[in-house]
């Protein structure tokens, strides 16, 4: 187990002349020992590049990677003492489940009785006792994924366990089960875990800290609550939540935002740099439909059971609102925003509003 320091790392696959040549733009973070981290973002956002840098498959073109203060930047994966669970289950087909789990220890010359005890414990933890002596090739995908996870956990000294979209090939009804088992294992063993995914549910339920990436850049690092309430970037707003955050282009005028001919009162004064494109970000959960506020034209109402999602427009901009259970859509609705849900953005980045 280790603390992972990403010391001003950045990566470009070719020669980097401008900022856009970087597959991974410079970042600096310290990930604490025993934490559960999720790297979340759409395909091509650089999350796999970052994972490969941590695992040692890729040497970053800039910066250093430290495990517990020790520079491992130029060490290959096998020297970094990490474990990895891949997108597709990787098991040694010709070995039994128990042999699969014993393999990493055997290769490291661990004494037989120690191996046996350790393997037995992990098999029990994973709930694979009945399959211990079956050939790994004959098992289902979710069991195989457990085996690959087990091969990492069997090593007591492992610095971190990395997960590269590990639930891709798992049946939907087993995904939830496997995810909660993973959470339990994390609590029990306290490994540092890094989980790469493009699925917000997976990231938000697994991780204590979610790292959201977009176009090669880390746009926000925070708890699931931070990401929901204060998206640091409009992308975070879009990407997390269903439906995503509404973004309304506005002109800032002190404590007032002007949208077309209408004015919206802000919680405080917001000042953006000159020439910046400014916008309001309001999650549908904070949009109130009633008799006050901005004229709202209803386009469509989706009834999803517990609540209704109302799609409409304000001054020509598409806006979604969530109505609580039982509430009816007013005939001539006007929309207002709850103050705690208003975020102000300048060039897509959140700016603080002075109270």
């Amino acid at each position: 187990m280790a603390e992972i320091t990403l010391d001003h790392i950045g990566h470009a696959y070719g020669p980097a002349k401008s900022r856009s040549d970087y597959a991974l733009k410079e970042l600096h973070h310290v990930w604490s020992d025993g934490g559960a981290y999720a790297l979340l973002g759409p395909s091509g956002c650089g999350k796999t590049t970052l994972l490969n840098i941590i695992s040692g498959l890729l040497t970053p073109s800039e910066g250093r990677v430290l495990f517990d203060g020790q520079d491992v930047t130029h060490l290959p994966p096998e020297a970094r003492n990490i474990a990895q669970v891949f997108q597709f289950p990787v098991v040694y087909d010709t070995m039994t489940v128990a042999e699969n789990l014993a393999f990493p220890l055997k290769n490291r010359g661990v004494a037989r009785p120690v191996i046996a005890a350790r393997v037995e414990r992990i098999i029990a933890m994973l709930g694979l006792t009945a399959e211990a002596n079956k050939r790994a090739a004959s098992l289902t995908a979710d069991m195989k994924q457990k085996i690959s996870l087990g091969r990492g956990m069997v090593r007591e000294d492992v610095a971190a366990i990395l997960f590269d979209e590990p639930l891709t090939v798992i049946d939907p009804h087993l995904k939830w089960q496997l995810r909660s088992q993973l959470k339990t294992l994390h609590r029990e063993f306290g490994h540092t875990m890094v989980y790469v995914t493009h699925d917000q549910t997976e990231a938000l339920t697994f991780a204590d800290t979610v790292v959201v990436m977009y176009e090669g850049e880390v746009v926000q690092v925070g708890t699931p609550q931070d990401l929901f309430e204060r998206p640091a970037h409009t992308f975070v707003g879009y990407f997390i939540g269903s439906p995503g955050m509404n973004v309304l282009p506005v002109a800032l005028d002190g404590a007032v935002a002007r949208l077309g001919g209408e004015a919206v009162a802000l919680p405080g004064r917001a000042v953006a740099a000159k020439g910046a494109v400014t916008a309001l970000g309001v999650r549908p959960e904070f949009v109130v439909l009633g008799d006050d506020g901005l004229p709202f034209t209803v386009v469509r109402v989706d009834d999803i059971g517990r609540e209704k999602i109302v799609h409409g427009t304000i001054a020509g901009v598409a806006v979604a609102a969530i109505l609580p259970e039982g509430a009816a859509v007013p005939a001539m609705p006007r929309a207002s925003f709850r103050a705690e849900g208003i975020n102000v953005y300048a060039d897509d980045w959140r700016i603080e509003v002075a109270a």
């Binding site: 696959y13 490969n52 498959l57 890729l58 040497t59 290959p76």
Partner: protein
């Protein structure tokens, strides 16, 4: 994904030695054949020389201008193409049946087909001559093209079945629900899906028909004589014309080389997907 920069990079040259030496071993005899083909008969018989001292293309000119020679190539080409077309055409529906249906005796049939792929032609030469003579096909392209079906059809069924099993069955069912008849579905939807498989199969049929010479030689005398027969007959009638033989040999390598260049990315796959 880019290649990781690692200290192991220094070991790569050593690893390259194995395929490099192997390819060198493969190329040496071919180089020697090409070398001989550009020599005059006098130089060849005069003794050892690593490259042609009196470079000449006479042998090639002779082959390409003399119908007795170049018709050998034409004949070979005709029966090879005929055989490839027949093999792939009849193997397509059969492979589909094996990949999609269970029917009486299917496993035995499949095995029996494969055993024919493995039947030694030397066993069959004489009865083949009798068979095709009695059908009046002796010394025609058809005789060779049909005879080569013995080993090419099983091979074609085998490879195609592998490719077809990779296409989900749901596709067939959807097409039938959409009102496609079997032939229309097969030609319009299914065949395009396994186009690369058909290509690989055609390649293997072409290859095995092109290299087989025992049946081809014995089933023909004049009209459909393959290049192999021309080569052996020339060798015996005009004495020891190694230069001419070498040039003829070089020309037999070219069609294969061209075909293989086009399918280079699929050759390995053809075998990998076939099942036994």
């Amino acid at each position: 994904m880019s290649a990781p920069a690692r200290p192991t990079a220094r070991r790569i040259p050593l690893k390259w030695l194995v395929p490099t030496l192997y390819i060198l071993f493969l190329m040496l005899p071919i180089y020697w054949l090409i070398n001989m083909s550009f020599k005059t008969t006098n130089e060849i018989l005069g003794g050892f020389s690593p490259y042609p001292k009196n470079f000449t293309v006479d042998s090639y000119v002779e082959i390409l201008t003399n119908p007795a020679w170049y018709m050998g190539y034409v004949n070979s080409m005709i029966y090879v193409v005929l055989n490839t077309v027949i093999s792939v055409t009849v193997a397509l529906p059969a492979a589909y049946a094996f990949s999609r249906y269970r029917f009486m005796g299917d496993k035995h049939l499949f095995f029996w087909l494969l055993t024919n792929r493995m039947a030694p032609p030397a066993v069959f030469v004489l009865p083949f001559v009798e068979l095709y003579s009695s059908m009046g096909l002796f010394d025609t392209y058809w005789a060779v093209a049909l005879a080569h079906c013995l080993f090419n059809i099983p091979l074609a069924v085998w490879i195609l079945e592998g490719f077809m099993s990779g296409v989900p069955k749901e596709i067939d069912e959807t097409a039938y629900i959409d009102g496609y008849s079997f032939p229309k579905f097969f030609v319009k939807i299914f065949m395009p899906l396994i186009a690369s498989g058909i290509g690989v199969t055609a390649f293997f049929c072409f290859m095995f028909s092109w290299v087989e010479m025992l049946l081809a030689k014995n089933l023909t005398t004049v009209a459909a004589k393959p290049i192999a027969a021309v080569m052996t007959r020339t060798a015996s009638t005009s004495g020891y014309e190694l230069g001419l033989l070498a040039a003829a040999g070089v020309l037999t390598i070219i069609p294969g080389a061209i075909v293989i260049y086009f399918v280079r990315n699929y050759i390995a796959k053809g075998f990998a997907l076939g099942r036994v």
